[in-house]
């Protein structure tokens, strides 16, 4: 069956499609989350060095990975919107930003709670932590810029430019902080090379998958509201059954 993907790049068609797709991502996300938690807490053994505290990684690592990936995907969508003037990609970028900021926050929070028992400090100025913090700032800057611009077209394009500049800067910031850290001896953190148990890997992978599905579901839900708001003057929005009732 050939699906006309191009058709769905128009907000009109995508609105309906997104509505149908949300449960297909949300339900597996919830199920996989439970499975991941079960494996993480009941199957995976206690770590020899970190004891039970290591179990934080099942949420910390997926959150960190996703916060970085979401930024790149957001910048990618924003760039598409800027170059090809496709409104839906710009709306997707706007819809992704809050979730990305949320995962950056979760990553920082769980990192701090993991760091305290392991390194004895809530926060260290490590390259990874610092970059994650700056990533959160970049998300907040993107959201603040877009929400302070009235004209949606300008908001899309200005946000896109900022996201692209940010994505070029993240690696520069990461390496500069890393290098700065090696100069200031003491704060460097080595992850002790404990080989990961298979169940640990499974739990982390399943949690990562659950988070991905969650991100997709929540982004689709958010982009639906954005589409409605932006297309409020059009005929098809006024004919939707949820608007007519």
């Amino acid at each position: 069956m050939a699906i006309n993907w191009f058709k769905y790049s128009a907000p009109t068609a995508f609105y309906g499609l997104a509505g149908k797709m949300i449960p297909w991502f949300a339900v597996p996300a919830a199920v996989l989350f439970m499975v991941g938690m079960y494996i993480g807490f009941f199957v995976a053994p206690t770590d020899a060095i970190q004891s039970e505290a290591y179990r934080i990684i099942f949420i910390h690592v997926p959150a960190s990975i996703l916060s970085m990936f979401i930024y790149l995907i957001m910048a990618g969508y924003a760039a598409l919107g800027l170059i090809f003037n496709t409104r839906l990609s710009s709306m997707m970028a706007t819809a992704l930003a809050p979730t990305g900021a949320l995962f950056a926050f979760i990553s920082l929070w769980t990192g701090a709670l993991w760091g305290k028992p392991m390194w004895g400090a809530w926060w260290v100025w490590d390259a990874r932590l610092t970059s994650e913090l700056i990533l959160l700032f970049l998300y907040l800057g993107f959201i603040a810029l877009q929400s302070s611009i009235e004209d949606p077209r300008r908001a899309d394009r200005a946000g896109a430019l900022l996201a692209i500049v940010g994505s070029v800067n993240v690696p520069i910031i990461y390496f500069s902080v890393k290098w700065w850290n090696t100069l200031h001896q003491g704060a460097t953190i080595k992850f002790t090379g404990t080989s990961m148990h298979v169940a640990m890997q499974q739990a982390m992978f399943i949690m990562l998958l659950a988070c991905w599905l969650y991100v997709i579901a929540v982004t689709l839900a958010r982009v639906r509201s954005i589409i409605l708001e932006r297309e409020r003057n059009t005929q098809w929005v006024n004919e939707l059954k949820e608007v007519r009732s």
Binding site: G141, A144, L145, S148, A158, V177
Partner: protein, 238 residues
């Protein structure tokens, strides 16, 4: 050579790319001469912020020496944020920016002219006053020279990155705070290498990698930021 024949019959010559670049710089400097208070405010702000630190953390010389480069850099960052709001807004409000967008030469070059003028009016004064502040913090002579060198390399980058933020937030309410939120995270590498070089000379290490990296950042910024700022201006003017 193309000539501009005007309605009054006089013949004038066509401006080259660099002629236009020079014109923008001369114009901004001339305007600043007529509005001297703006430049002085930034400078006074910088001096005040730096002077507040010893009062805040105590007059212990060892500690002051150690934190001097960081304090000077953070103050320079804040001071340049302060002057960013003015970079394009006056031209935006009186319509000159529209005319700049219509100039028959590359907009990036005009933007670069504005960035250079901004640096000469907000960055360069900070570089010149920094040694005096360094003495307040009892910095050794060698470290002072390095501080001047890295400030010379780093403050133009602040103006360039700042230009992107200023262009993106043009005409927005609360633009001044917003521009800091957008620009400050992007300036972190400059801060790191700028303070790193001074610390290196204090601990007897080589400053070469810091200075080289700052130089690389400067070149990178010089290549990309005028173009990005020009795009941001076009977006904001729509």
């Amino acid at each position: 050579m193309t000539r501009c024949a005007n309605a009054t019959g006089a013949v004038t010559s066509k401006l080259s790319l660099f002629g236009l670049f020079g014109l923008v710089i001369r114009r901004d400097l001339l305007l600043a001469m007529r509005r001297r208070a703006d430049v002085l405010t930034t400078l006074v702000f910088f001096v005040m912020v730096v002077s507040l630190f010893p009062l805040g953390v105590g007059p212990e010389m060892d500690m002051l020496r150690k934190m001097a480069p960081g304090v000077v850099w953070v103050a320079a960052l804040l001071a340049s944020m302060l002057s960013l709001g003015r970079m394009f807004s006056a031209d935006y409000l009186d319509g000159t920016l529209e005319q700049m967008l219509l100039a028959p030469q590359s907009l990036s070059m005009l933007v670069l002219g504005k960035i250079v003028a901004h640096w000469m009016l907000s960055g360069l004064p900070l570089v010149l006053i920094a040694p005096v502040l360094g003495l307040q913090f009892d910095m050794p002579a060698q470290a002072l020279w390095v501080l001047i060198l890295v400030l010379l390399l780093g403050t133009p980058i602040l103006s360039m990155i700042g230009a992107i933020g200023a262009a993106l937030t043009l005409g927005l309410r609360g633009g001044g705070v917003l521009v800091s939120l957008l620009v400050l995270p992007l300036c972190i590498p400059v801060l790191i290498f700028g303070t790193g070089a001074v610390e290196a000379v204090n601990t007897g290490m080589t400053i070469v990698p810091h200075v080289a990296l700052l130089g690389a950042l400067l070149l990178l910024a010089l290549v990309f930021t005028p173009w990005v700022t020009a795009q941001a201006l076009r977006i904001s003017m729509e």
